[in-house]
Symmetry: C2
Subunit: 224 residues, 2 copies
DNA sequence: CTCTTTTATGAACGATGTTCATTTAATAGG
DNA sequence: CCTATTAAATGAACATCGTTCATAAAAGAG
């Protein structure tokens, strides 16, 4: 066995050296979103943060949508990590859904970033594969498991969209919204909502999430 | 009984006569969205469709977000219509969730419009009140009913977001996406997703929606 | 040293949300 | 009839945005 064909000398290719690389751009973009919000993420601002001209970004991302898709992919890292042994499939489903919510919450406007794209990168695929696998292992048919996984993901996405929308409000905006809602909730017109006001204005989003997710898991257990 | 104090002479107020009114602007904006999509909805294009200058719009809507909120409100008309008599609460919950999905599907990008806003207009409030009322009538506590209503709405929103995102693709874009997904689904890396491919690429969104909603309803029935 | 290739630059284009001083058109009052 | 007042629309402008492209720069290959 002589010298193999593997490239042992990673000689730089020809051409001008790169000032930026796509992965770092994605990381920086996520940092900008964390600091200023998704609406403030501009190709120009990202370029400035990378010490690069705007046009350079378009050598690495065909469009801003492509950048957002790469960001969505990056956000889902670790979501498909191995599950703890000795846990029931109900616990595993709950764990996986919670990971997705946590991943979206980790970055400001994370749910908006994710909702606007449709990445099929390895992180997204691994996560979906793991979730479908747990459901199939729970006795569901492939079709039922797939549809259930979609339901879980869609619920989590819809929930986190609203959770982050509420969390993005300033304290004064939040109290103003609560006041406006209170004024609108005439018990004569909306008796049930008036009774629900305390829950509606609650900030216990984890509790809300757990409630909806638990409904799904119980439904799963009953239909197995 | 003589003349009442009700305004029998709706004399026009002083000032230049109006060329436009907010409700018509909302209707026209929804028509533009139907025809060209949300991304093509521009304050300038809406102004042109109303035969008005751009600045005029800002007399009726403080910002584009306010316009979108009014559009979201309008979309939910009829969603809180009376429910049929002699139906179980399970059927009523299913009916209400289906109405929301249908309302969002009625306009192109309807889910995106709704997700980007947070209106507390009468249509939205009536709908939520009706849904919470059905759940309370089913024996849930006020808090549980409220949280369940949120879960149903969030699931429906997340589902319809993806349904419309998929439906917005052209035939060639759709088949390209299917091909790309097929190429990515290496059974060695994603065995469960590879098995799920047929369901994942299915266009039976009504079936997907019914599956997820049914899980929630069964979960509700079991926890009642 | 010259060719080739890759990358970054810098400037520009059209379009967008928003603002505002000005003008127009109607009513109210004398 | 005339003038003040008021509501609304106009028209132009501003700062930014995503995107494109001809050009320049910087490296290896021959």
């Amino acid at each position: 066995m002589g010298t193999t064909s593997t490239s042992l000398s990673p000689r730089r290719p020809r051409g001008r050296p790169r000032k930026m690389a796509a992965p770092e751009a994605v990381t920086t973009a996520l940092r900008l979103v964390d600091e200023e919000g998704l609406d403030a993420l501009t190709m120009r601002r990202l370029a400035a943060a990378l010490d690069v001209q705007v046009g350079t970004l378009y050598r690495h991302f065909a469009t801003k949508q492509a950048l957002l898709a790469a960001m969505a992919e990056e956000m889902l890292a670790d979501c498909a990590d191995p599950l703890s042994d000795g846990t029931t499939w109900q616990e595993q489903v709950t764990e996986l859904a919670g990971r997705l919510r946590t991943a979206l919450l980790r970055h400001r406007d994370g749910a908006r970033v994710y909702a606007g794209t449709h990445s099929i990168g390895p992180n997204t695929l691994s996560y979906a594969d793991t979730l479908v696998g747990v459901l199939r292992g729970a006795g569901q048919s492939t079709e039922a498991a797939t549809r259930t996984a979609l339901a879980i993901i869609h619920f989590t996405l819809g929930h986190t969209l609203e959770e982050q929308a509420a969390g993005a409000l300033t304290d004064s905006d939040l109290s103003a919204a609560v006041t406006t809602l209170h004024a609108a909730l005439d018990p004569r017109h909306y008796p049930n909502l008036a009774a629900a006001e305390a829950t509606l204005t609650s900030t216990d989003f984890a509790g809300h999430f757990a409630h909806g997710l638990n409904l799904l898991v119980i439904g799963l257990t009953a239909t197995r």
